[in-house]
Symmetry: C2
Subunit: 156 residues, 2 copies
């Protein structure tokens, strides 16, 4: 079962230590874009000797090797994503949850124009309020929470 994770690490030029397998496996099974703390807290009970420093260094290594994505959509905490296929992210300004938002394709003509920029990674972040939070607001705070001046939709 974990041999798949092991193979994945090796494929990405990461030596598969117990700790690295545990972190990578957690990310495969938890697509909630967890923070370092969440990952550490989840693994710690079953791995009492695990150090948070190791979680930090492992995530850094995995991101460097392209095995995972590092998201800065949340100003408070860096989040990690095992899905490295092209897709965008949505964060709810109410509850802070982060969702995948399916593959995004940027305008071909536009991308052509910036070929010379040597882009090796693209991040698309959407910020707004999820359905659940909107329901909880029920019009009362909604207005003040969404000032027009915040509207910056980039669709043509």
């Amino acid at each position: 079962m974990l041999s798949k994770v092991k193979a994945y690490l090796i494929k990405h030029d990461v030596k598969p230590s117990i700790q690295r397998i545990a972190v990578m496996n957690y990310l495969f099974n938890n697509r909630t874009h967890p923070t370092v703390d969440e990952i550490f807290s989840a693994l710690s009970p079953n791995m009492p000797t695990l150090s948070k420093t190791t979680v930090y260094s492992t995530l850094k290594l995995l991101a460097e090797k392209g095995a995972i994505l590092q998201l800065t959509i949340d100003e408070k905490n860096v989040r990690y994503d095992a899905c490295i296929d092209p897709h965008a992210h949505f964060i709810c300004l109410g509850c802070g949850c982060v969702h995948d938002v399916a593959p995004i394709y940027l305008d071909k003509v536009h991308m052509e124009k910036y070929k010379n920029l040597n882009i090796i990674e693209t991040q698309v972040y959407y910020k707004g309020y999820c359905d659940e939070c909107l329901d909880n607001m029920e019009g009362k705070v909604k207005e003040s929470a969404e000032p027009d001046s915040h509207l910056k939709q980039l669709n043509s």
Copy 2:
């Protein structure tokens, strides 16, 4: 001269104090996406009583009111941008410089699909190496600095 800045603040429902005008004016004149520290260090000499806390709270207020943009493209520091028109950002993984990358238009069909997400802000971040850094590399480290596994271009 500063009355324009003043009017801009009032337009965005921000009371124009001396400090707020100074911060906003700095952002208007410095389109380098400065960090809190850069803004504070630049203003401090001419405003010896200015507190860094004030710079923090002012930037937070301005962003909340939609007068400026808050960028999390740089993992180290939050950066601020006086230009609130739709545009994307590029950060150089070598020197850390941040450039504007002209307006980006996301695929219309795609956006239609996510109308229900109540998106009120969109951020598009590109990461790569600027020309200057590429020149300095001259092929030697270039290879190791750009592993294929990092390639995640989102253009179709």
